[in-house]
Amino acid sequence: MLEIRCPYCGKRSQNEFSYGGDGNIKRPTLGEEINTKDWDDFVYFRDNPRGKHTELWHHTSGCRQWFKASRDTATHEIFATCKMNEDFNE
């Protein structure tokens, strides 16, 4: 069982959260011309490292906020979590 520290509520059990995937993908800027290749990259292509991974989580059964986590995909150690508009304080 993972223990995840929600930046708003503190440490809670994994059961309260749902996963949001790669936290590094940036949606192309709204209203700007974008070529289809960049759009496809945004939709289908992800970071998939073995090791430190920046990812999104949602405190679904808690405060319902989205936030970022830095987690090791091989050991599952969670190095840090932070609010969406913050950077990790590692």
């Binding site: 069982m1 996963y19 790669d22 496809d40 990259d41 289908y44 992800r46 998939n48 073995r50």
Partner: protein, 418 residues
């Protein structure tokens, strides 16, 4: 190669089983091969076998970082089926079903193919309609499909919860009678033994750590046992695909996730089919030893750990008990996990790459075991002829740019949402 038969069994029994030939050798890697296959799972072994058998290419090495069969091919729940709706999937997997039917004879190795029938349970009228549609499209593609009513199912799985008051009453189901199971280890060993006998080198404890690429062309691989020259490399590394693609500066529409399975203590014969719960994540079959082999869904976050987490096991078994309440009395024997190469549309990728001589076989998600024979067959064709076969033409990398994705489940590019 020694042929396995009732006579060889008797003969070797008389000499106390001391004179059996080794099933495959343990050679030192040579300096150069015509083709190098990375990954000694089911797909790598089958590819090497068909390269030798169908294309006469025998100067082939399989490089496996651990031992053959130690990856997903030895960790899966062995379900075989071709109950798909999209043509690309139907044609490909049905070609595979036909291979399963004669695989034991072809390999002279009992892969214990058991066409016991796979039943997908339906729990609402809408689901019955969807299954009728899927069954019809299967039959249009020449694949066997039978729509079952509640009363027929009561006779087949009488111990399931058929009460009216349960949360997800059983309305009926869709069955593919030729679907079933096979013995996973036997598939790996059978292909290994035949490939070896035709001259393929199976090299275990040999990890590929880099590629030699000049001017967009591959010329060799770096391994933990030295460098090996080759003009053609086929990648069959399942859950490790991204790690190797990174060495080639290839960004792929793949995420690594752990999938768990578990088995109960062995009990007397009870369940004659493969059954999947239609209202949650649970499927089950009974092994020949009597264990209930059960599985469900991904743990739900990227993972390269070949072990899972308890919440998903609990979630899956909760679903299981909703269909088969009597399973609550079973003791759990063990649980384990394997790393899945989850593609962004749930379908595989079997293609050439932007590097001359590098071929890609990945994206098998939940269902790559059943694909072992046909994946090996088309991948061998793709490597030997340097062009894709009709059967894998749609499983290209380009589809993530052309828009011709094959999203059978319709969940979108979020593999952890089952």
């Amino acid at each position: 190669m020694q042929k396995y038969s009732i006579f060889s069994l008797v003969k070797n029994a008389l000499s106390n089983h001391k004179d059996w030939e080794v099933a495959w050798k343990d050679p030192e890697p040579k300096k150069e091969y015509d083709v190098v296959i990375v990954g000694g799972g089911g797909h790598g072994l089958a590819t090497a076998y068909y390269l030798a058998k169908e294309h006469g290419i025998t100067n082939v090495a399989i490089l496996e970082k651990g031992w053959i069969g130690g990856g997903n091919v030895g960790r899966n729940t062995t379900i075989l089926r071709s109950n798909y709706m999209f043509d690309s999937n139907s044609h490909f997997y049905e070609f595979g079903m036909k291979q399963w039917e004669t695989l034991s004879q072809e390999l002279n190795y009992n892969v214990m193919y058991s066409p016991r029938g796979i039943i997908n349970l339906a729990h609402s009228d809408a689901q019955m309609n969807a299954y009728a549609r899927r069954g019809n499209s299967m039959r249009l593609n020449g694949i066997d499909a039978v729509l079952l009513g509640r009363d027929e199912l009561k006779k087949m799985i009488p111990f399931a919860d058929f009460s009216d008051t349960c949360r997800f009453p059983i309305h009926g189901g869709l069955m593919q009678p030729r679907g079933g199971t096979a013995r996973h280890d036997a598939v790996a060993w059978g292909y290994a033994r035949q490939a070896d006998s035709m001259g393929v080198d199976i090299i275990q404890n040999c990890e590929v750590t880099g590629f030699d690429v000049t001017d967009g062309k591959v010329s060799g691989v770096q391994t933990s046992r030295g460098s090996i020259k080759t003009k053609k490399v086929g990648l069959c590394v399942a859950g490790s695909t991204t790690l190797l693609a990174d060495m080639l500066n290839m960004r792929l529409p793949i995420e690594a996730h752990v999938l768990q399975a578990c088995v109960s203590e062995p009990v007397k014969p009870l369940l004659d089919h493969v059954v999947t719960f239609g209202a949650g994540h649970f499927y089950c079959s009974q092994s020949d030893k009597g264990e209930m082999v059960m599985g469900g869904d991904l743990d739900g976050y990227n993972s390269y750990a070949q072990r899972g987490n308890m919440p998903m096991i609990q979630h899956v078994l909760t679903g299981g008990l909703a269909v088969f309440p009597n399973f609550s009395r079973l003791k759990m024997l063990r649980t384990w996990g394997g790393i899945m190469d989850m593609s962004m549309d749930g379908s595989p990728i079997i293609d050439k790459t932007h590097i001359d001589g590098v071929y890609l076989n990945c994206g098998w998600c939940y269902g790559g075991f059943k694909a072992t024979p046909c994946s090996g067959w088309v991948f061998a064709h793709t490597i030997a002829k340097n062009e894709v076969h009709e059967l894998n033409a749609d499983f290209n990398l380009e589809r993530f740019h052309s828009g011709k994705i094959i999203d059978e489940k319709g969940v979108g590019p979020k593999p952890w949402i089952g």
